[in-house]
Subunit: 305 residues, 2 copies
């Protein structure tokens, strides 16, 4: 069962050579999500052959242009490619007015319904769930209302032990309940405890997206122990003052959040275009949190435990 | 003296592999213009090293997204790169409201003045001129208010014959007036006619941009004998009915306009993504107007007589 993150852009504010603007494509089991949508997002989606037609939820962290100017093209191209399914877009307030204003100015009417959901910036809200995934908001601290997102797999069922199916002649119809925790009464009347029949379930995986934000300890409880954290690291620690003023983080701060939240792995991104070579940011983060990697445009990251 | 057109995108409606959306960068002598601005325009400008900081006038043909969704990124990136000079944007009515709405929604204030100039669609209006160039509007017929543009060099001065400077001991201070057509009175009182002193001037060059439009004979007078015409050719002639309904042209129609307007050279572009191979469009156009070439993304075309 897939849990894969594809990064579409890692540059802050302006594109820098192959580093484009914020956008991520997330594939969890049977669900596909788009997170942020900077200019060029539709180009990258097309280039990488990602299944944008299967995306029914888009999550926009905040309304700075480098995180949302690609939305107009994504939405209109979805329509040209025949989309009829409804789409829901979660973001801080204001996106609906912007998108509808642009549609009006460009004489455009969407042939598929678009539901805009304005999320408050408190964090911890359940935004969406289906049978496999839940998505929660995370509070962030930027210059304008901004939220992060946590995508969590729902708990997996217990694993049935194949040898016990044979041993106790367990019928196929009973297996579903056993996987959910039920005991089993054999045809001869014996009660077999669930513990004897099953192995622990596969661990549920999770991914948190935190960009853009200053260093913010209050987000830690929301992203505790996630399998993968994407946290912005716009600057290096020598620019900590500038980071604070502009509502951004240093690589050191991103790694500190990862370390305190005990996440399994950290990807840093949203790099300032002042960094030609990103190794300074990676080294800075790894000193605090070893399992850090640089976000790379067009790379796909498998999320595991 | 340069007169060069760089095509940034040749695809209609949606990007198609390397064919991106409408945008052209025009360099005429000391002036730099941007024409249309589909999504991705700022990426192409950066990739090609074009001098966007020197652009003080942008011309937008119409408010369909594939011609203007790149504007937000171009304008905000200009600011990030330190622009302070005023910028004027010419377009049919409605662009100002859209751009200002997006700026408001994204908490953005431009640090440089942007003047929006709403152009009527009659055509033939002088939109801009400086010492070297005049820009006029051209009427087009699309589904929404749409204009084309003609960029014309101003007439060049006569060429002074070097041999005559020596023969008649013409002082340096007199040359400027002679180049503008004045006769010369020699120190010994002889009147030398301008015709004897000069050679014909370099011919002024011109470029017309006509996209998007149905076949429209009334535009011919506006683009008469231009050095280079860019005319949309979204479809081939078998799709003429569809072209008419959607407000587009076939390659045959684009070439017919070129032929009737007696232009020197035609570039066709704005290709539907249904054409993997564009040779069908090129061949169709060349049957009517031999000096036709396909528009190619990222190519620069020298405009000459």
């Amino acid at each position: 069962m897939k849990f894969e993150l594809t990064i579409l852009g890692t540059s802050a504010a302006v594109p820098y050579h192959d580093r484009w603007l914020a956008g991520q494509f997330l594939h969890i089991q049977d669900s596909y999500f788009l997170i942020d949508c900077g200019e060029g997002t539709q180009f990258r989606i097309k280039e990488l052959g990602l299944k944008i037609s299967k995306v029914n939820q888009i999550f926009i962290s905040h309304l700075h242009g480098d995180h949302c100017f690609g939305l107009f093209g994504v939405l209109t191209s979805m329509a040209i490619n025949g989309r009829t399914n409804a789409l829901t877009i979660f973001s801080p307030a204001g996106l609906q007015e912007m998108v509808e204003g642009v549609f009006k100015s460009t004489y455009y009417q969407s042939p598929f319904p678009i539901h805009f959901f304005a999320v408050d910036t408190e964090g911890g809200r359940l935004l969406f769930e289906n049978q496999q995934v839940s998505v929660f908001s995370v509070p962030l601290a930027h210059r304008i209302p901004t939220i992060g997102f946590v995508f969590k797999e729902k708990p997996f069922p217990l694993n049935m032990r194949p040898d016990k199916i044979e041993e106790f002649s367990i019928p196929f119809t009973a297996i579903k309940n056993i996987k959910l925790g039920a005991d089993f009464t054999s045809p001869d009347g014996r009660l077999i405890s669930n513990k004897e029949l099953t192995l622990p379930p596969k661990k549920a995986r999770s991914f948190a997206y935190c960009s853009d934000t200053s260093y913010l300890e209050s987000l830690i409880t929301h992203i505790k122990a996630v399998s993968l954290l994407y946290h912005e690291a716009t600057f290096d620690h020598k620019m900590a003052d500038h980071a604070a003023v502009t509502g951004h983080s240093t690589a050191h701060q991103a790694a500190t959040i990862a370390q305190k939240a005990k996440v399994k792995k950290l990807i840093i991104g949203h790099f300032s275009s002042r960094y030609t070579n990103l190794s300074i940011l990676l080294e800075e983060a790894k000193e605090v949190f070893e399992n850090t990697v640089l976000g790379v445009d067009k790379e796909t990251y498998v999320v595991d435990i």
